[in-house]
């Protein structure tokens, strides 16, 4: 104690000692619950015992052995009987009896099923009264009864805090059922050909899930708190110097409104890369890239975006090798780059660590495809961040709004007429595979409007990402004409989003608008009030979706929250590094509709934190620019900030990384944030890196190479603000 007190008394060591104490406390809280009366530590349930048993509903002469015993009719009857047994074991009496046999006193075990038959489960809202349940149910002891409705086999699954308890629960359930059937048979004797016989198919098999999860979670909590605390201490210690440096960096930035003579910026440039990026953006908005697989043999996937990114990378490498001066891409490693690389590294590590299991389950092919897609995103981000210049950012933002409006118009047309202009037109020139549900009503009664994407959620998110730039364009516009145009764009983007008939189309734009409101409350509020008329038009377009009954008819929210419990075993089995990046195949296991949950399962807590770090790094970088001296940079950075925030929200609503339109757009916006932190390059024509002697044939002009000399163009009006 005196040693510890001594440490606390030393001034330099005191914060470190406090931090270590807090981290240790966090680690303990991650592993244990603390009770005050009586004071004690109770271990949290971070491992699960699992058990499985099977019962065949048979006759005295086994159907397995005797060819005379099983007809289709008998099989169906046996299957129906299995359903009845499953329902019997879920009754109040049996669950209470099972609770007593497990030593739970007056508490029942929780029972459910059958999930394969989807009995009693519906994805549409049912207005059933919720009756009070006086029973005490211990949900850590759970029984799941499953039958498929066509075979006379009953599956008994048990879950409990320990393997022994789970095995006991399954055995007790099977025994209880056997006793019940025997009692029934005794009360009304039947001929041997009619009497049901329950045959156990082997002993109950058990195991433990998440055996080491507790210590891993405690260690993670300790390290995370240490890292966060150290970051805070570091930032606090040097806050004065940092604000001074930020001030100096801000002073070095040129104002985007001020004209820079002889600048060489898109679209008034002969540099190829910005034009290529503009082309990529147009492709992203107007082409259903997911649905187009080119007849090119690539090691991973031949969807349209992959060869285009490869071509873009080749052009970028060529520029790095050949071009010098201001036109050369500037590759700088910043916080966002580090976060992206960290995430990529963790994803690779998760695959390497779990490779054996992934190989056993034949899931490596999917993982390789997803890793290739992730590398595509990272490469795209590095290219854009090195190519984009600050004065090009407003023009690209305007381009995004323009393209977003086209997509929104196409979406509204699709919603009203069931005609998808993107798929139809591109299908005439490229091998487009249209989704099965294109413009059809899905299983829960919603029209599936795809636009140029492969998922209505993706379309809704894409339109929401453009919205902040349109709103800020309307606020900052210098002329009335531009303001009206941007206001119309806002209305169309909202209408297009809502036409996707997904709740995401309301939640994600709302998040973006809230962020804008937090930074510029008056201006944004004033604009939104002025947009009342447009919003009325919007309601007219999509009135069906906004009707209260229609809006709430799908239980998508309930479905999403139900997944949190269902994936607990997956999370606990690999809490730190997950089971391997994107190895949780939604077609095989479960559609999660939540990127965070997906990452928690596939790359663990470390991967999830590094994914969040990408958003954090982007938003932190944007925040500095928002608070900077240049209003134009500030406005654009705010738009980018809101876009990034909206995707951080959208990540909780669907698996963002699986649908390339959104991540590409996110990384483009991230690159815009980085570009806004840089000063404009000094006007200078691009040069080839070949040095030629003075007086060479062709003269100095020929040696200057790629770019034309700066043209004496008149000053141009910046596009976003008008």
């Amino acid at each position: 104690v005196s040693w510890a007190a001594g440490i606390f008394q030393r001034r330099r060591l005191r914060p470190v000692a406090i931090l270590v104490t807090v981290a240790a406390l966090a680690a303990v809280l991650a592993g244990y619950r603390i009770s005050l009366a009586p004071p004690a530590l109770h271990a949290r349930t971070q491992q699960l015992g699992a058990a499985h048993a099977q019962v065949l509903v048979d006759t005295s002469n086994s159907a397995i052995a005797d060819i005379e015993q099983l007809t289709q009719y008998q099989s169906d009857l046996g299957a129906q009987l299995a359903v009845n047994y499953a329902l019997y074991l879920q009754g109040y009496g049996p669950t209470a009896a099972l609770g007593r046999s497990l030593g739970l006193g007056d508490r029942s075990v929780a029972a459910s099923g059958p999930f394969t038959l989807l009995l009693g489960r519906s994805n549409t809202a049912q207005k059933l009264p919720k009756l009070p349940d006086p029973r005490l149910v211990d949900r850590s002891y759970r029984l799941l009864l499953d039958v498929d409705g066509s075979r006379p086999v009953l599956d008994i699954y048990a879950q409990a805090p320990t393997q022994g308890a789970a095995v006991k629960l399954a055995d007790e359930a099977r025994g209880l059922l056997e006793r019940h059937v025997a009692t029934q048979k005794a009360s009304y004797p039947l001929p041997s050909t009619s009497a049901a016989v329950l045959r156990p198919l082997g002993p109950t098999v058990g195991g433990t899930v998440g055996a080491g999860a507790k210590w891993q979670l405690m260690g993670f909590a300790f390290v995370l708190v240490m890292l966060l605390g150290w970051s805070l201490m570091w930032a606090r210690r040097q806050r004065r110097a940092r604000s001074y440096m930020v001030g100096i960096a801000g002073a070095k930035l040129d104002r985007l409104d001020e004209q820079l003579p002889g600048c060489d910026e898109w679209p008034y440039t002969t540099r190829l890369l910005p034009w290529a990026l503009a082309g990529f953006m147009a492709m992203l908005f107007l082409v259903p890239i997911d649905a187009i697989t080119l007849p090119i043999h690539l090691p991973v996937n031949g969807t349209l975006d992959r060869p285009v990114v490869v071509a873009l990378a080749m052009l970028w490498f060529a520029s790095l090798a050949v071009v010098s001066g201001a036109a050369r891409p500037r590759l700088k490693l910043g916080r966002v780059h580090v976060a992206v690389l960290l995430f990529l590294g963790v994803c690779l590590a998760s695959v390497a660590v779990n490779g054996q299991a992934l190989g056993d389950m034949d899931e490596l092919t999917l993982v390789v495809k997803k890793l290739a897609l992730l590398v595509s995103y990272a490469v795209f981000f590095f290219i854009v961040a090195s190519v984009l210049r600050p004065r090009e950012v407003p023009r690209f933002a305007a381009l995004m709004v323009f393209l977003g409006v086209i997509v929104a118009l196409g979406t509204i047309v699709e919603y009203r007429t069931h005609y998808n202009v993107f798929y139809t037109l591109w299908g005439k020139v490229l091998p487009v595979t249209a989704p099965n549900l294109l413009d059809q009503v899905d299983s829960i009664g919603r029209l599936t409007v795809y636009g140029p994407t492969l998922q209505p959620l993706e379309l809704a998110a894409m339109l929401a990402m453009v919205l902040p730039f349109a709103i800020l364009g309307a606020i900052d516009a210098a002329t009335r004409r531009r303001r009206v145009l941007y206001a119309i764009a806002v209305g169309l983007l909202l209408a297009g989003g809502v036409a996707t008939a997904r709740k995401t189309s309301l939640v994600v734009p709302a998040a973006a608008i809230l962020v804008l409101l937090a930074y510029r409350p008056r201006q944004v509020l004033r604009l939104m009030l002025k947009l009342g008329l447009l919003l009325a038009v919007l309601v007219h377009f999509v009135i069906n979706q906004l009707e209260p009954g229609h809006f709430n008819s799908a239980l998508t929210t309930t479905d999403r929250t139900a997944r949190y419990d269902a994936v607990t075993p997956d999370v606990l089995s690999h809490p730190l590094l997950g089971r391997g990046y994107e190895s949780y195949d939604p077609q095989k296991y479960r559609i999660l509709d939540n990127q965070y949950l997906d990452l928690l399962i596939t790359v663990g807590l470390i991967g999830l934190v590094s994914y969040l770090a990408i958003f954090g790094a982007m938003m932190l970088a944007a925040h500095t620019t928002i608070r900077g001296p240049d209003p134009r940079r500030s406005s654009l950075a705010l738009g980018a900030f809101a876009t990034v925030a909206s995707i951080a929200i959208a990540s909780a609503l669907f698996d963002v990384l699986s649908f390339p339109h959104v991540p590409y757009l996110l990384f483009f916006v991230g690159a815009m944030i980085i570009a806004l932190r840089e000063p404009s390059p000094t006007p200078e024509p691009a040069r080839l890196r070949v040095t030629r002697p003075v007086g060479h044939a062709g003269g100095p002009a020929a040696a200057e190479g790629l770019s034309r000399p700066p043209s004496p163009e008149p000053a141009r009006e910046p596009v976003l603000a008008g």
Partner: protein
């Protein structure tokens, strides 16, 4: 931080860089050595559920009961009781086998929605190196067995043992029930197991992932730590200068700068 600066840092910290490279190579080698049993073999076998007087030979026999029986068999074959017989016939431990299927039920239409209780049992079985799948044909009394294993040879061995194991289980049931000979369910293997190699590139993928993952994280750590140290030194220097300037200003009011200049700096 510019690219050439990163290279300069890595060069300046060449010992740490060399250690990271060595670790990456070691991780790749470890993955290559440990992943020798990643399934690269697959084998398939078909079993006919038949009567003593073969359905194929008997024109008067209705195949419908046999078809429904095949569906039940496919499910019973996934049970632990049958898997133990198969493991015994194949000469492997029962824990090395796991079975899945048959697939069906209305839940499959909306994709698998396996609840936590059932998922826990699936996770327990994930470590088994031999994975068996049983699929009953829709309109024939035939069960298709698919086995994945470390090598094609071992997968074929287990696939062949499926027939032997199931036959042993059925025989035991027939003996226990005293089934008359003419009523005995008869299983017939439709030829030996067909084996082949799959997932050839899986090990290379894992090796590449280990190498790149460790290399990337290690190099990021070096560059990150070094840039933090530099930044810290830089900020500490500024802090000292600011403190000195503050001292000067507080001691000597004549050294105070005009308010406009201070405002500029604060911006």
């Amino acid at each position: 931080m510019e690219l050439n600066e990163i290279f300069r840092i890595l060069w300046a910290r060449r010992l740490a860089t060399a250690i990271v490279v060595a670790l990456a190579l070691a991780a790749a080698a470890a993955v290559k050595l440990s992943s020798h049993s990643v399934p690269t073999g697959a084998a398939t076998l078909q079993i006919l559920v038949d009567s003593p007087s073969s359905e194929l030979a008997n024109l008067s026999q209705d195949p419908a009961p046999l078809i429904s029986r095949a569906a039940v068999f496919a499910q019973v074959m996934t049970s632990d009781a049958v898997l133990r017989e198969i493991a015994k016939a194949a000469g492997v431990r029962p824990q090395q086998l796991t079975a899945q299927g048959p697939y069906g039920g209305s839940g499959q239409v909306l994709n698998a929605i396996t609840p936590a209780e059932a998922r826990s049992s699936q996770l327990v079985a994930e470590k088994a190196p031999y994975r068996l799948t049983f699929l009953a044909q829709q309109d024939q009394p035939v069960i298709t067995v698919s086995v994945q294993g470390p090598t094609a040879l071992e997968a074929a061995r287990v696939a062949d043992a499926v027939y032997t194991g199931v036959q042993a289980y059925v025989t035991t049931a027939q003996q226990a029930g005293g089934t008359p000979a003419q009523h005995k369910v008869t299983l017939r293997a439709l030829g030996p197991a067909q084996a082949g190699t799959v997932n050839n590139g899986s090990r290379a993928t894992l090796v590449a992932a280990a190498l790149l993952g460790v290399l990337l994280l290690g190099l990021l750590l070096i560059v990150g730590v070094e840039s933090l140290r530099r930044r810290s030194r830089e900020l500490a220097g500024i802090e000292e200068n600011l403190a000195a300037e503050f001292d000067t200003v507080t001691r000597d009011p004549r050294a105070r700068r005009p308010a406009s200049a201070v405002g500029e700096r604060q911006q």
